[in-house]
């Protein structure tokens, strides 16, 4: 699907239970199921690296390999798979802070790459 280009990554914050969900346009709160009207978009400027692997095989068209894919915690309990902006795993440490950086994908929408905080690329 094509979405407008965005430079700020957003999460949804539930006005009913206080939980965060991803993405901001999610149809309902992942915890209590509250509808979209009860969800507010909030910025996610930093995430925490929880896990990572290097992908060697060409699994997705347009995704150059090798590349590092990680699990990043966007907010407490919200862990998502994400592309990590690093040449190899040895330059990364679990628990480190990452910053989401937007790139323009072929369809004009944002594609997010997470880079070590303080080292925007």
């Amino acid at each position: 699907m094509s979405e407008p280009f965005a430079t700020v990554l957003e999460l949804a914050h539930c006005a009913d239970c206080g939980a965060h969900s991803f993405p901001a346009r999610v149809y309902g709160c992942r915890v209590c199921g509250a509808p979209r009207e009860r969800l507010n978009a909030v910025p996610c400027t930093q995430a925490v690296l929880r896990n990572m692997v290097t992908v060697h095989a060409e699994l997705v068209p347009g995704l150059p390999v090798p590349c590092v894919i990680g699990e990043v915690e966007l907010a407490p309990g919200v862990i998502e798979e994400a592309l990590i902006g690093a040449r190899d795993e040895t330059t990364l440490q679990l628990g480190m802070a990452l910053t989401p950086v937007a790139e323009r994908a072929a369809d004009g929408a944002s594609r997010w790459r997470f880079v070590p905080a303080g080292n925007p690329q």
């Binding site: 699907m1 979405e3 991803f22 993405p23 346009r25 999610v26 149809y27 992942r30 915890v31 896990n51 990572m52 692997v53 290097t54 992908v55 060697h56 095989a57 699994l59 997705v60 347009g62 995704l63 894919i69 699990e71 309990g77 862990i79 998502e80 798979e81 994400a82 592309l83 929408a109 944002s110 594609r111 997010w112």
Partner: protein, 384 residues
């Protein structure tokens, strides 16, 4: 907990397969009919004696059943189609068993059939852009799970590879398996690296095939004069889906929690314990799964999966043979057929007819399948 199958016994009376194979020009109709005809012959039934067919497929498309089954004769039977990702076949069996137990029909066919390549995933059509380009690639998810458990549980790359060595070895003994070559530890470790610590030989291949199971009530076995001695009872059938990570026990990934919950429900409904199982067929699309699911099912204690495997306890002839068929890694995973094929293997083993790979004194077994989403389907079977 549903105990319908305990109150109204349902038995598998016929099994049949079309060999799992790499994608080919073989029409799906040929795959499916081969499996159905073999199951009918195995049961000693004629097509006109089947009043219900439930077809599980992930990729073929609308009206898969009638387009195929009319070539056996248009008998007017009820035809249903279910899609539940990799658990489509298991779900077809569940529907067939419950319809027989409920008394709607006294005989039913569960058929899984699929070709590779035409499946379309709902996750790509939900209107929400995923954060990662790999978000819908199971291989990456399981490579991440493997890495996490290697870190947290002290698993090694040899532990992961040992699953593939065992299951390729079992598949080499299974004429219906897609892979028929035993593999050494060295071959598995030196195969092409695909993601994280997983090599190509630790991953299920792409493929196609078909599997069929015919189930019948006690009354139908008597009425139709079927061979009671070869019938295998389905003690329970359970289906669940993944719950929120916050609700799972601390440190247990949601998919592993789902496998634990669904198998526990199935075992409880059957009135048996995991330690009594002689055989388990489970979803080992990627090697890490067998280690962690054998723990979740309760065949061994948490953290003991790799040691259990190394000790030979999960080999044919061990305490509880896991994936005697070769599993998804060795036998293959054509999607729709896979869950039905698991049950066909279990029935063959429980009857003592698994020539060349027979697990001795097999009496009680669990078939456990998962599907994208994630969903789980579990069946417990017993030779009476």
């Amino acid at each position: 907990m549903s105990r319908l199958l305990m109150e109204r016994p349902v038995h598998v009376v016929g099994i049949g397969l079309h060999k799992y194979q790499f994608p080919s020009d073989t029409p799906y109709v040929t795959l499916g009919l081969t499996a159905v005809r073999e199951a009918l012959a195995d049961a000693g039934l004629a097509w006109k004696q089947i009043p219900l067919a439930v077809v599980g497929t992930g990729a073929i498309g609308m009206a898969t059943g009638r387009v195929m089954l009319r070539h056996l004769g248009s008998t007017g039977l009820e035809v249903q189609q279910v899609e539940n990702a990799s658990a489509s076949g298991s779900t077809a069996l569940r529907v067939a068993c419950l319809q027989v137990a409920a008394g709607e029909h006294d005989v039913a066919l569960a058929l899984g059939v699929d070709k590779h390549g035409d499946a379309r995933r709902a996750a790509n059509k939900d209107g929400l852009a995923p954060l990662s380009p790999t978000a819908n690639v199971p291989l990456v998810k399981f490579a991440l799970l493997a890495r996490r458990l290697m870190r947290e549980m002290g698993l090694t790359i040899e532990d992961l590879a040992a699953v593939a060595v065992k299951n390729h070895g079992n598949a080499a003994l299974n004429p219906y398996a897609q892979f028929r070559k035993p593999r050494t530890m060295e071959q598995v470790l030196n195969a092409a690296q695909v993601a994280g610590d997983l090599t190509g030989l630790q991953c299920t291949p792409r493929g196609e095939g078909a599997a069929a199971v015919i189930v019948a009530s006690e009354a139908a076995i008597k009425r139709l004069g079927l061979e009671r001695r070869r019938a295998v009872r389905v003690l329970s059938s359970v289906s669940t889906s993944e719950r929120l990570a916050d609700d799972a026990p601390p440190g247990v990934p949601p998919i592993v929690d789902m496998v634990g919950v669904s198998s526990r429900l199935a075992l409880d409904a059957a009135g048996v314990g995991a330690s009594e199982l002689d055989l388990v067929e489970l979803h080992d699309a990627f090697s890490i799964e067998e280690i962690v699911y054998s723990e979740a099912i309760g065949v061994c204690a948490r953290g003991e999966g790799a040691r259990y495997l190394r000790s030979g306890a999960s080999a044919i002839g061990g305490r509880c043979a896991i994936n005697a068929s070769g599993g998804l890694i060795g036998m293959g995973h054509p999607i729709g057929p896979t869950g039905v094929g698991q049950v066909a293997e279990i029935v063959r083993q429980l009857r003592g007819e698994a020539t060349g790979r027979q697990h001795p004194k097999a009496r009680l077994a669990l078939a456990h399948m998962i599907g994208l989403g994630n969903v789980a389907v579990a069946h417990v079977l017993r030779r009476d």
